[in-house]
């Protein structure tokens, strides 16, 4: 048995080596970008499995600007920061809002767009968006988003129902399993309100932009202290803004300025 054990051990070792060796070493200018693929119009997949959307186009444009080889890694939103920290990906381009809370864990580029959040409810339901009005009501949010954090902290008497994907929030909204959903306004419009399933639903309550919760726009997230990459990406975003690349991309999706009103606040400039 001993000899066999040793042999099997060698075989297994070899096999594991082959398996792991086939995983490549991260080298030079290869950037693995975490994207979501379930957040239209920013990120979605078409029937052929191809990724498309505003986030994806921005990611490709940034890579072209950096002359880097990019690999898109599809990943659930609540796994983005853990994946970044465990070095499964090098950057996140998934409509991730730049918040102080997240800044403790990751590095952010300047924003590449900014849109507000709002509640969606069934048309005519007359739900009052307030602590007492939402008491006992079910609020659907995507897990670990700014919406999740804000709703959890603000509406303590409501029941927060957390979903892995934004699609699932909309599916359950249409099914009537949640009373209200706190979502990005653009994602809600394209992904739900303008679809047949969303025709009986409407926005209600205030438009949320409070930076403490909703951040200062969506940015590219990177590992802490990945300063070089951050600077390169900031430069790329600035160039794209200046040379019209950004406008060309945004016009493909939106008939308004998705960049929003906040001016970029580079942490470098702050220092």
């Amino acid at each position: 048995m001993n000899l066999i054990t040793r042999r099997t051990m060698a075989v297994v070792g070899l096999a594991l080596l082959i398996v792991f060796a086939s995983a490549t070493y991260a080298q030079g200018k290869k950037i693995r970008i975490g994207v979501e693929g379930a957040y239209p119009p920013f990120s979605q997949i078409d029937p052929s499995g191809k990724l498309s959307g505003f986030d994806i186009d921005i990611a490709n444009a940034i890579c072209a600007e950096l002359k880097a080889e990019c690999v898109m890694v599809q990943q659930a939103f609540d796994g983005m920061i853990p994946a970044l920290q465990s070095r499964k990906i090098d950057a996140v381009i998934a409509s991730m809002s730049i918040t102080e809370e997240r800044r403790k864990a990751v590095e952010f580029s300047d924003k590449y767009y900014q849109t507000p959040a709002r509640f969606v409810v069934k048309a005519g339901s007359r739900i009052d968006i307030s602590g007492s009005g939402l008491k006992g009501k079910k609020i659907g949010v995507q897990r670990s988003t700014t919406h999740d954090k804000f709703a959890t902290d603000t509406f303590k008497d409501a029941q927060i129902v957390r979903y892995t994907k934004q699609d699932e929030v909309f599916l359950d909204m249409a099914a009537g399993r949640v009373d209200a959903a706190l979502v990005d306004m653009i994602a809600a419009q394209t992904g739900f309100l303008k679809t047949p399933q969303g025709k009986n639903f409407e926005f209600t309550g205030p438009v949320y932009e409070e930076p403490k919760y909703f951040g200062v726009g969506a940015g590219v997230a990177m590992r802490k202290n990945d300063v070089e990459l951050r600077n390169d990406i900031n430069k790329a975003i600035a160039t794209m803004r200046a040379n019209g690349t950004y406008k060309k991309i945004q016009d493909k999706y939106f008939d308004f300025d998705v960049y929003g009103k906040y001016v970029p606040s580079s942490p470098l400039a702050k220092k």
Binding site: D78, D148, A174, R177
Partner: protein
């Protein structure tokens, strides 16, 4: 390891354990209640009885429980007929959908376990009962079922453990069970290692508790079948 974060999250883990155990107990209870008649039908010599049950268990055991759960939770809501029906208040609850899925799933596996145990009963036991003049129904309820339920214990204990693990899928349909608590801690603190190791330890403890419970039960009710084989945790799938 960030123990501070773990300590802080412990209460939510205990809340998760309670949801997990509720789902497990209710599903096992209803599942067993369904499985007994199904198992009897499956073991029957009448094709018209055994064949439909075979088809049911084949489909339930041949597809992932995750697919079954999504079919019931998300799939049912696709139809207006379901959404407008009197059943909707039930199907609109994630808890009910999870419980229904787990119940149907475990009833299929348990029915096969019971049917297997019934087939394994020595013919002599049945013949002895018949020769005493017991009716078919009496033979079934007094001899065959009690005896086969006991024999089914080791296999059933595996099924219970597999169901305990299966309940972790509840976290994919918004329920905050033990796994859900871990996923929320992960989302909140970005500490996946701490979050899932803690959940793993809780599950291990639950598994050990269930295993020792069944060891006790086997000692009590299976003494007559010595030498017993040790209970081995094995997933039970379609082949029996």
């Amino acid at each position: 390891m960030n123990f501070e974060a773990i300590t802080e999250a412990i209460p939510s883990y205990f809340a998760g354990v309670s949801v997990t155990l509720q789902l497990l107990c209710v599903a096992l209870l209803f599942g067993l209640a369904l499985a007994i008649p199904l198992g009897v039908a499956r073991a029957s010599n009448n094709r018209w009885l055994s064949w439909p049950v075979w088809a049911y268990t084949y489909v339930m055991r041949g597809t992932p429980m995750l697919v079954q759960l999504f079919l019931i939770y998300y799939g049912m809501a696709q139809f207006d007929a379901v959404r407008d029906s009197a059943l909707w208040p039930w199907f609109s609850s994630a808890w009910f959908c999870a419980m229904l899925t787990f119940t149907l799933n475990t009833s299929a596996y348990t029915a096969e376990i019971i049917a297997g145990a019934m087939r394994a009963i020595p013919a002599g036991e049945v013949e002895a009962a018949r020769s005493l003049g017991l009716s078919g129904w009496r033979v079934l309820t007094r001899i065959v079922l009690p005896s086969s339920m006991r024999r089914a214990l080791p296999a059933y204990s595996n099924e219970v453990i597999m169901m305990l693990h299966g309940t972790s899928l509840a976290s994919t349909v918004t329920l905050v069970d033990l796994t859900g608590a871990a996923r929320e801690m992960n989302a909140r603190t970005y500490l996946p290692f701490e979050a899932f190791v803690t959940a793993g330890i809780f599950y291990l403890a639950l598994t050990f508790m269930l295993v020792s419970l069944f060891h006790f039960a086997e000692k009590r009710w299976l003494r007559h079948l010595a030498p017993r084989s040790q209970t081995v945790l094995q997933p039970i799938a379609i082949a029996s």
